[in-house]
């Protein structure tokens, strides 16, 4: 008993002297695929400043006052922490409430779980706790993945950070981004339709009487190679420039421009203006498509530690995915080029359909309205 009392006395003495410190919150996020586990320590004094925890106004915050406001604290804090994976917001929900002590006093500890729709290589985080209330506030994140942890500091000047994607070695990372690149072109219908619009006439030759079949596979191949090379070159340039933030365009402009490029490419098949110089159009509009790829890459996030490698992986992935489409298209189109089905249905009908779909995209993107979704909602 006496020993216990002595221990108690020493415990009393060891109670730390709390510091005056600028406002920090301590955030831990552990990621396992699409699942997140987190803990967020937020100073009670800061929460009182934002939400008024001290309801009875006696200058003391008791556990009961914190417990009564758990839902309010979560409703205040969680929308100020946006976690996205693959360009989509992950949902976060509190699981447990505790208290901890840091150098400057008591903190509410909110443990939470998160679920992401997609498991991208990185997590994009946007942290704005106490924005407007304390510009000196910092969020100190400890991000844990694959047993490795990394520290990141959020501030009013740097609220947006990308984490993850830099564990697992250079090769694994390159492969991840290569895969993302392939996936992006295969699921990016606007890019595919643009490419197809330019490729559809490659197996045909235009003269004064209209379209006729190309004589040799070689001439069709050269035509395709010119278009694809020009497109690749152009979008690689702008993808790199945009990914490195050297040139930045507003995404609405880029996306609407891409839709317009698809419309024009498809209309050119129906009412030819440019015939032999299609590679030039591929180059010019390719510049715009590169900015679009960069937008997708931005959503994935580039790990700061190995920017070049990931960028190269993504770009090569896009090229590989594109080449696969071309290799599938060219032989098929060449064989069918003289048929009525190809001329009327694929070439004319396909170009018309593409132009119409892309025109709707253009309206949606340029004026920020949902034409397709409005139709679907009926």
């Amino acid at each position: 008993m006496i020993r216990l009392l002595a221990l108690l006395a020493s415990a009393f003495l060891l109670a730390p002297a709390y510091a005056h410190k600028a406002s920090d919150a301590y955030l831990t996020i552990e990621r396992d695929g699409r699942t997140l586990h987190g803990q967020w320590d937020i100073a009670l004094r800061d929460l009182d400043n934002a939400l008024g925890l001290d309801v009875d106004g006696d200058g003391d915050i008791v556990w009961g006052e914190v417990r009564a406001r758990e839902a309010d604290i979560a409703a205040y804090a969680l929308p100020r922490l946006q976690v996205s994976s693959g360009g989509e917001r992950c949902t976060l929900a509190p699981t447990r409430w505790l208290v901890d002590r840091h150098t400057d006093g008591a903190y509410a500890v909110m443990q939470f779980d998160g679920a992401c729709a997609q498991a991208g290589p990185t997590l994009a985080l946007d942290y704005r706790l106490f924005e407007g209330l304390d510009p000196q506030h910092r969020g100190l994140l400890n991000f844990v993945e694959n047993g490795q942890s990394r520290s990141v500091v959020f501030s009013a000047d740097a609220p947006h950070r990308i984490v993850g994607g830099d564990s697992g070695g250079a090769f694994a990372q390159f492969a991840t981004y290569l895969n993302e690149g392939v996936w992006h072109i295969w699921t990016g219908f606007d890019h595919i339709l643009f490419l197809l619009s330019l490729l559809l006439p490659a197996v045909l030759v235009r003269d004064t009487r209209g379209w006729r079949s190309a004589q040799s596979f070689r001439s069709a191949f050269v035509d395709v190679a010119k278009v694809v090379t020009a497109f690749t070159l152009a979008h690689s340039i702008t993808l790199t420039l945009a990914a490195l933030s050297i040139v930045v365009l507003p995404s609405r402009l880029v996306e609407a421009g891409i839709a317009l490029s698809v419309v024009l490419a498809a209309l050119n098949n129906l009412f030819p203006v440019v015939a032999d110089g299609r590679w030039l159009a591929a180059f010019g509009f390719g510049l715009l498509h590169g900015f679009g790829f960069a937008g997708a890459l931005h959503d994935l996030g580039l790990p700061a530690g190995s920017l070049a490698l990931s960028l190269a992986g993504f770009n090569l992935g896009v090229e590989a995915g594109q080449l696969a489409i071309v290799m599938l298209f060219l032989p098929l189109a060449f064989v069918l080029r003289s048929t009525w089905a190809y001329r009327r249905m694929v070439f004319a009908g396909g170009s018309t359909a593409i132009a119409m779909v892309a025109a709707v995209w253009f309206v949606e993107r340029a004026f920020d309205v949902g034409v397709f979704s409005a139709l679907a909602a009926r």
Partner: protein, 394 residues
């Protein structure tokens, strides 16, 4: 209401000790009852801070109202200074948010912005604001005084003297002379500056805040000149006017430590452990008192945790203090010198020079010693402790 912080904490620890699961005690916990007091807000027992809180609430519903924002920022800045609590600096900046950028800003908000940047050690930003503000409003005495202060901190004494001279006739004589005394005493004219300052102090009554400021200056100059009895007298007179001023307490504690009177530091700073700067002085005193071994170990650990927390958030404001901590308490002269050098690149007050010199000597770093020596020679610095240290053979 409820149980006090320390009381319940020891109770929680008792549970931990009894369970022999010490590791678990460092983890977050669920308090045993709703009545447990977790946090004592700063406005408890402080009507001025309670009023500041109400003013902030009013400002929040009308954030662009200059007449609400300026008093909030001013009071928050004052609270940060007296308590040494940087959270108030964040509140002051939040109040000034609509006027934080650009040069089309009302003078009152602009001046507070510059002052706030100074407290955040953004001296370049502060000077840029003050230059532009004074170009637009050349007669703004407070802005000129603030600029002189910042110029002193970065060691531009001639420019500071010019600003102080321009104040003559615009503000009380004691302010002009106090303003002049700092740069003059740091660039070869300590005797004349001190004489002028003590003379005005003897005559002028006036505002007690201004008197306390002037007395603190006089005490520091006297201490630098080696007139310790006079320094002691001035410090005590200043403390009588404001016993809570954190800057003054820190300066007096440094004086006591230099005079090897650590026991007197304890009662002076016992209740100021929340303030890192003052806790450091307290620990430096405890280090020299064998009977304080336990408190010393505890406070040294607290300081290490605090400097670590500051580093984690990317703060570099306390590099001078941390250098002193590393040199005197952690026996890490190399770490101290790195911090002192980085600090010297930004801040050039006598205390910055002193820690640079001390760390350089501890490391035997000739280059850093030369940097310090050149500065002393160039400005004909009169500082008994620094000069003695510089001349003492190793």
């Amino acid at each position: 209401m409820g149980i006090t912080v320390t009381g319940w904490r020891s109770a929680a620890l008792a549970v931990c000790v009894a369970a022999m699961a010490a590791a678990a005690c460092a983890k977050p916990f669920v308090p045993p009852s709703d009545a447990v007091v977790l946090e004592r807000l700063p406005e408890k027992g402080d009507p001025a801070l309670a009023q500041l809180k109400r003013m902030r609430a009013a400002l929040r519903s009308n954030p662009r109202e200059l007449d609400l924002a300026v008093p909030v920022a001013r009071r928050a800045l004052e609270a940060a200074r007296t308590l040494g609590d940087p959270r108030f600096l964040g509140e002051a900046q939040a109040a000034l948010a609509p006027w934080w950028t650009g040069n089309d800003v009302p003078a009152s908000a602009w001046l507070l912005r510059a002052t706030l940047k100074q407290t955040q050690h953004d001296f370049a930003g502060s000077l840029a604001d003050l230059d532009a503000l004074l170009a637009a409003h050349p007669t703004l005495a407070q802005a000129r005084l603030t600029r002189a202060t910042v110029l002193n901190v970065v060691g531009r004494y001639a420019d500071a003297r010019r600003d102080c001279a321009a104040l003559a006739g615009r503000v009380a004589a004691i302010v002009v002379i106090g303003c002049q005394a700092v740069p003059a005493s740091l660039s070869g004219d300590a005797a004349a500056a001190y004489a002028a300052l003590t003379q005005t102090l003897a005559y002028a009554g006036g505002d007690s805040g201004v008197r306390e400021w002037a007395l603190t200056l006089a005490a520091e100059i006297a201490a630098r000149r080696g007139d310790f009895a006079a320094a002691e007298r001035h410090f005590r007179a200043a403390l009588a006017l404001d016993p809570r001023d954190a800057y003054l307490k820190g300066a007096y504690a440094d004086f006591l430590l230099d005079r090897n009177r650590p026991a007197e530091v304890l009662p002076l700073l016992r209740d100021d452990t929340r303030n890192d700067i003052l806790l450091l002085r307290l620990a430096l005193a405890e280090q020299r008192l064998p009977e304080q071994r336990r408190a010393f170990a505890e406070h040294r650990e607290d300081l290490a945790a605090r400097f670590d927390a500051a580093r984690r958030r990317g703060d570099s404001m306390h590099r001078r203090e941390e250098a002193r901590f590393r040199l005197a308490l952690e026996n890490d002269p190399k770490g101290a010198l790195a911090l002192a050098r980085a600090n010297w690149a930004v801040q050039r007050e006598p205390a910055d020079l002193r820690i640079l010199l001390e760390a350089a000597r501890a490391c035997g770093d000739a280059d850093a010693q030369k940097v310090a020596g050149d500065w002393i020679a160039a400005h004909r610095l009169e500082d008994a402790v620094i000069v003695a240290q510089q001349e003492r053979p190793r």
